[in-house]
């Protein structure tokens, strides 16, 4: 790629320019059906990237391939400079995965669980520091099976970042959380970003992606249909404005990218310059998202 062939920038090195994740033409099939159907993706170092899409869109499969726990059928994948399919222990120590279980049973306390896993890493974060980071200091001596759902997720995040990963994977981190726990969780992720950890998260919550991510990739039916900062998602779709008014007794609605011209005509048509029930609305992020995932065959920008 051209990025790696450029002359070294004044600050930083070629290694810094290299994205944390680079995916080209990724395909994964189950029983002949492509659940991941040609995804191209780049996650830059230091950014929080959200893969946003409905359930069954291929988010988890994609992430599991990047984590090196699932094989791919086609495509090139580089994660922190290595192919996940052949990544060794040193590579795995540089990535963090937030799992759905601690992997050490539920009979341990929070502190015991964290202490145990310090033995797996090259440079583990001290347990006391980790407990404070995720807000579990008070619950340190509580058994894992006595934790609330939100506390469990925070313990799993603690385990994910214990090895000081350069890249952290969060797969559907807030599914099933209540709104308060979600907000706390978001604060936790923001803290990770501040410390420079690259984060790749999957979510089917639009507000989560919009709140946390520097860039969002919308994935549907195994394809990435849109990539960009949350505010820019669905560029063309967002420029389309819906103008509604009442004409006679019938409600009228026109979708246009030139609302000014339409309004001028409407006003000119009425002798008093009044248009009953006139409203002009731009599509919200949610409207854009719903339209994006509803038309998977739409060409990527």
């Amino acid at each position: 790629m051209t990025a790696t062939q450029q002359a070294p920038a004044p600050r930083g090195t070629a290694r810094d320019e290299e994205p944390a994740v680079r995916v080209r033409g990724l395909v994964k099939r189950y029983g002949g059906r492509a659940v991941v159907d040609g995804i191209d993706l780049e996650v830059r170092r230091g950014e929080v990237f959200a893969l946003l899409g409905p359930n069954g869109a291929g988010k988890t499969t994609t992430v599991e391939i990047l984590e090196g726990v699932r094989r791919r059928d086609a495509g090139e994948v580089t994660v922190l400079g290595e192919d996940p399919a052949t990544g060794g222990r040193r590579w795995r120590d540089r990535i963090g995965v937030v799992g759905q279980t601690t992997g050490a049973g539920n009979a341990l306390t929070v502190r015991e669980t964290l202490d145990h896993y310090t033995h797996y890493h090259a440079a583990p974060v001290p347990t006391g520091e980790l407990l404070a980071d995720v807000g579990l200091t008070e619950a340190a001596s509580r058994r894992v099976d006595k934790l609330s759902g939100g506390q469990r997720r925070r313990l799993e995040v603690a385990l994910g970042v214990q090895g000081r990963p350069e890249l952290l994977f969060l797969d559907e981190p807030t599914t099933g959380m209540d709104p308060v726990a979600r907000r706390q969780f978001w604060t936790l992720v923001e803290g990770l970003r501040t410390r420079g950890t690259t984060v790749l998260l999957t979510t089917h919550y639009l507000d989560e992606a919009a709140h946390l991510a520097d860039r969002v990739g919308v994935i549907t039916a195994g394809r990435l249909v849109e990539v960009g900062p949350p505010a820019d998602l669905g560029g063309d779709l967002r420029r389309e404005v819906t103008v509604r008014w009442t004409e006679g007794d019938a409600p009228r609605e026109v979708v246009t990218s030139a609302p000014g011209a339409l309004l001028r005509d409407l006003l000119a048509a009425d002798p008093f310059g009044e248009v009953p029930d006139l409203s002009v609305t731009r599509p919200g992020l949610e409207d854009v998202y719903l339209r994006l995932v509803a038309t998977p065959e739409r060409e990527t920008r």
Partner: protein, 283 residues
């Protein structure tokens, strides 16, 4: 050139010159501690592992009382050998096989995979836990046999040496086979019924519940393929007088062949583990 020598300025902590990773042996050591702690906190497993052989001994002792199998050898003494061997199989093969399928189903193993846990470290943890729990279980069993039933325990060091190698080889064979069998069993449910059922059938075939010489020849031949029969035979050589060797099919204790069969199973089991072990199902 500058690209490779210039320091990296990534802000993620710990990215510059990570220290060496802990060895598989070091992770294995901490896994032994973890496994033992989890075992101790699972009261059902503790009770089953420690009480089952003792209950078997109590039942055999009550049913057959002080009847003699051989001159000077009563049923309790005779069956102590079979019960001790069974105990080793239960705490190794059965406990490991059922535990791993459960851990895999819960996603615990998938978690360990993402941490880059060496499979060897995982195996060391299991084997270490099995060793400690088996030794404790045998101590309880032999204690009850000696104190409550006056079963004479051997005094010669040579017999305890035999006891030691039979137990250690039995543990290793049982552990690697317990790990290996999980590659071929789908769900934890299937393992929870299939493994104990197999273990019970093997106990019947291997002469745990009967006087070995009463068994039909075909049963003996099937049993001879598996380690349990040899462990029982090895245990008989520990707990019965040498005169009892005449009752064995071969007329001797066959220590050499016992060691050979057990070592062969350790090797076969280890090879199957190394080739088929998977952290998750279906990948």
């Amino acid at each position: 050139m500058t690209a490779t020598t210039a320091p990296r300025t990534t802000t993620a902590p710990g990215t510059t010159a990570r220290p060496a990773l802990p060895s598989a042996a070091a992770i294995g050591r901490s896994r032994i501690g973890l496994e033992l702690r989890l075992f101790a906190r699972d009261s059902g497993q503790v009770v089953f592992s420690f009480a089952y052989p003792v209950i078997m001994l109590v039942i055999f002792g009550s049913v057959f009382g002080g009847e003699e199998v051989l001159p000077g050898v009563d049923f309790r003494q005779y069956f102590l050998a079979g019960i001790a061997a069974t105990g080793v199989m239960l705490t190794s093969f059965q406990a490991v096989g059922t535990a791993i399928t459960e851990e895999r189903e819960r996603g615990d193993l998938a978690r360990l995979q993402t941490l880059g846990t060496p499979p060897l470290a995982y195996g060391i943890g299991k084997a270490g836990q099995v060793l400690v729990t088996t030794v404790a279980q045998l101590a309880v069993l032999l204690g009850v046999a000696a104190l409550a039933y006056d079963v004479p325990l051997p005094t010669e060091p040579g017999r305890w040496l035999t006891f030691a190698w039979v137990v250690v080889l039995g543990i290793l064979a049982g552990t690697v086979m317990g790990i290996a069998v999980t590659s071929f069993i789908g769900s934890a449910r299937a393992a929870g019924t299939g493994i104990p059922a197999f273990a019970v059938v093997l106990q019947f075939l291997s002469g745990v519940f009967f006087i070995d010489s009463d068994l039909p020849a075909w049963m003996d031949q099937i049993a001879a393929v598996f380690p349990l029969k040899w462990m029982v035979q090895g245990m008989r050589s520990v707990f019965l007088p040498d005169s009892a060797a005449a009752m064995e099919a071969a007329g001797t204790w066959e220590h050499g062949r016992t060691a050979l069969v057990l070592v062969a199973w350790v090797i076969i089991g280890a090879v199957v583990c190394a080739r088929t072990f998977r952290w998750r199902r279906g990948e």
